[in-house]
């Protein structure tokens, strides 16, 4: 029987024996939006590649309409790349069934609107949904995991509050807690600092830094906050108008001419004592 030829798995199913410490690998992925297939695309994301390890924070940086959100959708598996592949632990993210994908990738989106109010704990428990099939009742394990998730983001005291009665910063933490309850390998955050004040922004990224280290998450943050990316990211993917201009650690990507050209603003870059770049913007006058 062993002589029977084994049908090879379709390439999308086959775990790739990539070097063991790479978790996310984006390989020449591209995408194009068009309103009509026969017309020229309205927006193109040119082929780009990068790799991320467990415990690493990657910042996807760029001005508005640069393709940040498209890249995030490709990585989350919501969109299928036009060309190229995106692997998570060797599996093509777009081909994973929804439930499996949700066990491995958690997405923190800009504030979600709720149709009917729910309690914070109900919201966090939703993160356990991918771990049951069909109709399910939460187990004690689910409750423990959700409670831990709330503790990890320092929001345990909010557990019994209503989602629509807490502040923006508190809500952002709770949304992060729900993502943690999914126990993902990959944590994606879409502009998580958008509605937060400075204190809450630093707080959130501090949390992410700690969580990435403790739980070995690979974290991807889409942002246009230069200094937060410079301070907290291990790698920066710099995008402009659908083109990937540079990938690398902040100290190499944060070049004055490059950033000035991308963000269309005069600025200066200096290195802090910790080896992190700091950007100062000047007014145009």
């Amino acid at each position: 029987m062993s002589s029977l030829p084994r049908t090879p798995l379709p390439s999308s199913e086959q775990p790739r024996a990539a070097s063991s410490d790479v978790r996310l690998s984006v390989e020449q992925a591209s995408y194009a939006y068009s309103s009509n297939p026969s017309q020229a695309p309205l927006f193109t994301l040119e082929a780009l590649s990068f790799h991320a390890k467990p415990g690493e924070i990657v910042a996807i940086l760029g001005p508005n309409a640069c393709g940040k959100s498209t890249l995030l959708k490709l990585i989350s598996g919501a969109l299928e790349p036009l060309s190229g592949r995106i692997f998570l632990n060797g599996f093509v993210t777009h081909s994973l069934p929804p439930r499996t994908r949700a066990q491995r990738i958690a997405l923190v989106q800009q504030e979600s609107r709720l149709l009917f109010p729910s309690r914070v704990w109900e919201f966090v428990l939703q993160g356990r949904h991918p771990y049951g099939s069909g109709l399910r009742f939460e187990t004690e394990d689910d409750v423990i995991i959700a409670t831990n998730a709330l503790t990890q983001v320092g929001a345990n005291h909010l557990s019994d509050r209503w989602m629509d009665k807490i502040s923006g910063g508190e809500k952002q933490r709770v949304i992060l807690a729900r993502a943690l309850a999914q126990q993902p390998l990959l944590l994606l955050l879409d502009e998580p600092t958008l509605h937060l004040d400075i204190g809450a922004q630093v707080d959130l990224l501090h949390n992410l830094r700690r969580l990435a280290a403790e739980n070995r998450y690979t974290v991807l943050v889409v942002t246009h906050e230069l200094n937060l990316a410079g301070e907290y990211a291990d790698q920066v993917v710099l995008l402009q108008k659908g083109k990937c201009l540079r990938v690398g650690p902040p100290s190499t990507v944060f070049q004055r001419e490059l950033l000035e050209q991308v963000f269309q603003a005069p600025l200066s870059v200096e290195m802090t004592a910790s080896g992190r770049p700091r950007v100062t913007l000047f007014s145009n006058t």
Binding site: R99, L135, R136, F137, S159
Partner: protein
């Protein structure tokens, strides 16, 4: 954290079931013919034991043969409409959605009338003919909800107000079609159809239809219930639900088809009864919260209670004549709807 457990779910449903039972007993007692509680209990037990022939009095026969089937029909219709309403509200992310408001009931009515007209031209066996109306109503409901769904979509997202407006326009368009079709009906047929359209449980239905309705309800509501956890996540939006592991496309198809079956069956048996599918899920949500694992069975029981109460009023307030149950639900429902709408806005 106190997540819903099966025990708590069953306990709450048990309370609602007890209320339903009490309402049914009262409904059986009320009417032109008075029966004692003792006589009622004795006769019911005899029916359950299969000894209907032992029921002595004509009064007992009235209760068992006329009031009881009507109440059972009301229970299935009310449960179907409420579950359909709760499902549409979750799927369309719109708390004001229900089969009546969205025009789905009207679509089912058009389907049923068209089926009636076609049927009269075909020489079918009575069993087959009896199935054609519910099937026509289901098709009408399914086509209407598909049309309303596409009318309500803008840039790939469902827009609440566009959806409701689309539903209202569809409903009035379909009402015009119904008027048009009614001109083709004659004499006694016409009077029956008019009464049926207003929402009516008084017409005796063949026993087979009651079985079809109950069976259809169990299958369709059961199918919707398997997606209860998914519906909870869909409240936050389709994209968000997808990222939490919901197979949105599958859930959407299952719930649309099942809710159309529920609406079609209810309308083919009792016409367009309004407001039950809208208000009962609303009230249940106020009491038990928005968790569909609790909300769906609570709505089914609550809808049954609401229809049995409304129908008992319909046949007793102007006795010896009666009004249509649809008129009762509308008279009670419309002001309640306005009240809930204003409350939401403040």
């Amino acid at each position: 954290m106190r997540p819903l457990t099966l025990g708590r779910l069953l306990f709450r449903c048990g309370i609602l079931a007890v209320i339903l039972f009490v309402v049914v007993v009262i409904a059986l007692k009320m009417g032109a013919v008075q029966v004692s509680l003792y006589g009622l209990g004795r006769d019911l037990i005899r029916v359950l034991l299969g000894q209907s022939s032992a029921i002595s009095t004509d009064y007992g026969m009235i209760v068992i043969d006329i009031r009881l089937p009507r109440i059972l029909l009301g229970i299935v219709v009310g449960a179907s409409l409420s579950v359909a309403g709760a499902s549409f509200q979750a799927l369309l992310r719109n708390p004001l959605a229900d089969p009546y408001v969205l025009g789905v009931s009207s679509g089912a009515a058009v389907g049923a009338i068209v089926a009636l007209i076609i049927e009269s031209h075909l020489a079918l066996s009575p069993e087959l003919a009896g199935l054609i109306t519910p099937f026509g109503a289901f098709l009408g409901a399914a086509l209407t909800i598909a049309a309303v769904y596409f009318l309500g979509r803008r840039d790939g997202q469902i827009d609440s107000s566009t959806l409701l407006l689309g539903g209202i326009i569809t409903a009035s368009f379909l009402s015009a079609i119904i008027m048009f079709l009614m001109n083709t009906l004659s004499g006694s047929n016409l009077r029956g159809t008019v009464f049926w359209l207003m929402g009516d449980l008084s017409t005796p239905q063949p026993r087979s239809l009651l079985f079809l309705l109950s069976f259809g309800f169990l299958v369709a509501a059961g199918a919707i219930y398997t997606t209860a956890s998914d519906l909870n996540l869909l409240l936050a939006g389709e994209k968000e639900a997808m990222h939490l592991g919901v197979d949105v496309r599958r859930v959407r198809i299952v719930v649309y088809l099942a809710a159309s079956i529920l609406t079609g069956l209810a309308v083919s048996a009792s016409g367009t009864i309004g407001y039950v599918g809208l208000l009962v899920p609303h009230i249940m949500r106020l009491i038990f919260g928005a968790d569909h694992r609790m909300l769906l069975p609570a709505s089914a029981l609550g809808g049954a209670i609401a229809i049995v109460v409304a129908d008992t009023l319909a046949r007793t307030v102007v006795a010896p004549s009666e009004v249509s149950v649809g008129a009762v639900t509308a008279i009670a429902g419309a002001p309640l709807f306005i009240y809930l709408l204003r409350r939401r806005m403040t």
